[in-house]
Symmetry: D2
């Protein structure tokens, strides 16, 4: 054991506790026929919790963790602390970027050796632990070589570097029995149109994603390939703007049956959408995969990556997840970071515990809404007219015949209440 | 002649004028081998200029035009005034919604009769005038029957009404030799997900658009079918959010070769994009059609529909239009309204004249940037590496072979300056 | 009785009801030594509930209420329906603009006669009813005469008209024993700086507000004068942007002890603030007065005026209200309108009932947080260093002596955790 | 000479150049009776140009300058390069934070020694150079000791450290004959209200600013004390939100005649205002001081600090500066950073040159608008009614007498056009 979490004991489910405990999250509670842990599939993000120093654009490191630094020994200490936290929290999954877990080397080869060694170290730890890998991903945005993009870089050598990097990360994810592989293209976009060949960059991004899918099949990786949309930041415009944008992109490259969405609440907000919108849209397009359950401050125009803390919002999100059939390979990742003033080990544990509790409350409310059925019945009733054979025949017909019928029958459609407030009241009976 | 524009004489090109005149727009000036009028293809929007009363969410009519009212006589007076303005401004095109030009009747049949009569009246006026129809469209958002959508309404009868309406508007557009037919789905979206079956609504919208395309071919209409994206307002979410969203939608319904985009600066802004982004994207996807050249206030979160007044911005937009090959059936529509305090006839003329001048200045700057070629040469140079056979071979290969090469050759790609500020300086030599 | 609410019976407190009832709001429940009704002081807004036709910038009336029109008879019918709703909901207060309750006349004198007659009618209804007047206000933004402002109009005659109007409204508010008088300056701002003399307009606004305060004292009105901040819309910029802005304005005109704030959640959001920020700021400046508890959609850049539906948000707001000492003359007004698709009488009742319930839940949570005391204790502990005599002495000293001490003692202040996530978890124990 | 700008020669005024030169900025051109250099008073920001490594929240250093590091030798090399750039650009001013110019020491005393030594080094360089100091300021936001604020920190020792720091920076500014001293409170705000005592923090900030003013007078510093507003980022809420907010704050602490505003275009945008609004407001409140002429991307919700590149926008800003009487101690600082992909020395020169040119064009346009006088005449004409004795008498009267006059005379004010589009056209004749 390291000293980092000294004094903190494993969190238990205790609804009446005012201490570090789960008041709502009971992993073993059976809901809709399954243990809550299997529904929610919580994951900790390695980067924010263990690699992020607490900097922001106007200030540097605040956290001063003992494992900060660029050596293999420190990387192993970081992994030890991480698994201690996974145990304290009893989380079933974690996620990493290559750059979170290994020191950067002086060459691709050295970075790869460091990476593979750490993957083995993680693998050994996972053997004796409960926590599995929800997904792996490659950090292709922090190093200056990626400043103009990875797959969309004007320099083909950066494309090559990126391809080799994703291959290594997919290999490692496969080796660790990861459930998914994620791509987030933070620099796959542009700073200014003036120097950008958008058509070419988009094509290269499309080809890169095809290669990732081809490689998945080649190595027999059974997990899902997930793309994570974000509208901008760090780039002025990111090609994976939102779910609708990525869908058009997937269609263009024949990938709509191969790739799913990893949807983040904060990114949805930054794109001008509600989280539930992005979830419902992905579900209706058949590309829903997994979620990053971290909120964005509604008044901040940059990515704040905060732990969720609003039950009604979380409930509406899980309601869409349930309507989408729940998670298969996906799960609930907290791509959330402590506020940079939250210096203590206890803050890290409390933040995750609070988030897990909020998710459990929200999920249970969503289950109750689903099982109650009123919301869904009202929705279906609203569209009942479309289930008639007349309506179906109309959809199969054409403007001319419809216009004839309108003229001859003199229809005058009467508006019906949309009942939004009543529906919102119903939701509030459950949250 | 009506009295409305009394005292205002036709505007001429006079660079040194401080009066109502064009200081930059000379329709007959030859630029890139064509008259400027044929490049820019200006259009006046009937609705804002002649039908909008000056109201906003907190106040009612300010304009008190003598033709306001719901009779055929007033509709004809409105048309007379409109054509007087077209003549004063010497604009080659105008655009309408059905509801702008005809009084609403008590039934579909009566509205249709009114509409057809006015179409004939407009046709007669066009015979003796220079101004042609850039596009027609149907207003399927103002009347309460459309409060829950038109093609996406939960009530199939509203779909039917909408189909009959679009048929009539397409017929009329065809009759008047319109160059395009536009669909803007202001209510094709939702107020709350709680009462919305997004999948079904999206399918109905897709089928409706297919019907419009089928009808176009049936009647032999040669113009383009244009969809105009907007993210929201009046709806909380509109399905035609932005160019990327519409593209995915078109792909889903096999319409990407049949339908093009009518892109508005203000709507781009509201969707979180620059205007030039939306233009460049549409161009790179092969779906660029036409533009609405009206700006949105950058600090207002609602649609302000203001006349353009910033030359550098307009220049960057036309630079993308030129790169897309210029307009074919499309043109430069001013979907712009006077500020509601701009009560006078002179304001209406001055607003259009100023906008046409700004567009002419911006267009000429864009032509100069294009002919100079530095910008494009720098862009191409940035991607030169991708034109090599090695790079092409890499795109045709796979992760494994690329990774092998990266490992064996020890590449270490060196970042190159993106030169954004230098590029911006070059633009400023022309605007 | 009118027919409008036919079939709807007075709402009772019934926690287990799934019908139209209060599940959380029990007016008679004693909380912190007072009946909940006396704490929350709910008010219905006449304008949204009875005068607003359901229009938006892209569509007209949807509601078709039988009392719509511009006659005294219809105005009385509207008042009858309003009081029926007050009774059904058992709300202790309502609020009006002059324009909500009386038909506009052809002259100031006629409008005033209509107004006074309706005030008497309302007075008579209030005699036999429970509902009192929380505040009156003047609508000086809808009519075209106010298009360029009321007190800030370039035309002194509009200032005069506005002064006479506010006088009449203050007289009426006084007559009906109103608890407050409110000013919202929707057009007190500008559309473009180019035609605006901001300094003069601000001075005229200041003088106008002084006159209102002088008049209050002259007639012996004991209620508070409240200003309601909003950043923009309908204007591009409104002088009463937010609480901080109004505070500077009040200081300039010597009014900071005479005027308080009526703070709206939606307006706070539009100004880039959280609701609780505006409340906490007003409280810390000593100008907190009353609230408009209606939310804005976080993704819509215009005023959506929706009924509150998120308990945790409401709880944080009431937590600040409680810290400010609770309401004295102020209360909880719902400046909220039905969605325009919510056509039915039932929607109107359900919307208010749901909002009252959300407020009751939030308020009770805020009381619990207050009584628990942990949050406040942690806050005070964070600043404990400032309660020492050394710290107080330092504040009374100067840079030179402080710098000397820093140099001589070699202090090196150590950061302490801000514990944000732990605090958020504590809040979540109560909401 | 260092090698950094090797091959770049001093920039000259050459309107026809397509190379690195000034096409619009001619420092010696006489405009409104003064050399353009004396009007515009350009300043380079030391931090962005020489200390910023090119990082953003998702990536690290891109710039790799030879002077990066934390030694005195490197600090001197940085100063050498800086003055070489000042000479190449012929800028009359520069600005610094303490942390930009000296290495951080292990203690306050060591940092101070480093600072004083560098100040002497700068002083020596300035002796032989043209460039003077526009302002100095203290960086009290980057180091982790300031993570919870400087003057508003919960820990009095951080207040002390900050006081000693500002004293040292004011001393140094005074020593170098700086024209102003600036305070920007990036961490003077909060991350969460839950742990914040806003009233106390605001009071401490007020006392701190008073101390700074007292110290200015004590040492006989004749320059202005400037506060730079910004709404948020890095904090969720910064107390110096915008000009209006700071004004209320100054009034509270009796500082409105002692402190002026340093207004940044980018910060204005982030606060929901246009730049010209903030300038006009500061001017009308008598607290206009200086400007940071760096734009924010309109589609990015974080501080992008880009060099200005839009002449019409810059022209409207200088139009307000001219109306405010022009700069006295203030000037035009470029608080602008290169895009992080702009790696080359040439980018740094070109960015400043382009910005200076844009400012010169905008300023000349603003002068032309001013000298033409049409805009101002139209504005004055709009308010002419307020210059009558009747209007003045009305302002000195009260509601009762005004209401009597309105009733007795039957006024019916007629709206007059606001002519916004015509005014915008006039502006476009000059930009």
């Amino acid at each position: 054991m390291t000293e980092f979490f000294k004094g903190i004991t494993p969190l238990r489910y205790d609804p009446s506790s005012t201490d570090l405990a789960f008041r709502h999250y009971n992993p073993d509670e059976i809901v809709m026929g399954k243990r809550m842990e299997e529904h929610l599939r919580f994951a900790v993000a390695y980067w924010h919790s263990f690699a992020w120093p607490g900097g922001d654009p106007f200030g540097g490191e605040t956290f001063e963790r003992p494992w900060f630094g660029n050596t293999m020994d420190l990387a192993r200490m970081k992994a030890d602390v991480a698994f201690e936290m996974f145990d304290l929290l009893n989380v079933p999954f974690f996620c990493w970027h290559d750059a979170d877990i290994r020191p950067e080397g002086d060459s691709f080869a050295e970075s790869l050796r460091n990476f593979e060694e750490i993957i083995d170290y993680l693998g050994a730890k996972m053997d004796g632990a409960k926590t599995k890998l929800l997904w792996g991903t490659a950090n292709m945005f922090s190093h200056r070589r990626f400043m103009s993009g990875a797959a969309t870089n004007p320099d083909p050598d950066v494309f090559a570097w990126s391809a080799a990097t994703v291959k290594a990360c997919m290999d490692a994810t496969h080796k660790l029995d990861g459930q998914n592989y994620v791509l987030w293209g933070g620099r796959e976009g542009y700073e200014t149109l003036l120097n950008t060949d958008m058509k070419r960059e988009r094509q290269n991004a499309g080809r890169f994603l095809q290669m990732a899918v081809e490689y998945k099949h080649k190595i027999g990786f059974k997990g899902a390939i997930l793309v994570e949309p974000k509208p901008q930041e760090p780039s002025k415009h990111q090609y994976d703007y939102d779910v609708a944008t990525v869908y058009g992109f997937l269609k263009d490259y024949g990938l709509e049956d191969e790739v799913q969405m990893n949807i983040e609440q904060g990114h949805a907000i930054l794109a001008g959408h509600s989280f539930e919108h992005e979830l419902a849209l992905a579900s209706s397009l058949g590309i829903f995969g997994s979620i990053d359950m971290n909120r964005n401050d509604y008044q901040s125009g940059w990515d704040t990556d905060q732990f969720p803390n609003n039950t009604p919002e979380v409930a509406l999100a899980y309601y869409e997840v349930i309507k989408a059939g729940g998670f298969t390979t996906g799960g609930t990742n907290f791509d959330a970071k402590l506020r940079r003033q939250s210096l203590d080990a206890q803050d890290l544990i409390a933040a995750h515990a609070g988030a897990m509790d909020i998710c459990a409350r929200g999920f249970k409310a969503a289950v109750a809404m689903t099982e109650d059925g009123t919301l869904e019945a009202m929705r279906q009733d609203r569209y009942a007219g479309w289930d008639t054979s007349d309506a179906k025949a109309m959809l199969a017909s054409d403007f001319s015949s419809i216009a004839e019928r309108v003229a001859s029958t003199g229809i005058d459609p009467a508006p019906r209440s949309g009942k939004q407030e009543i529906l919102e009241n119903i939701v509030n009976r459950f949250v």
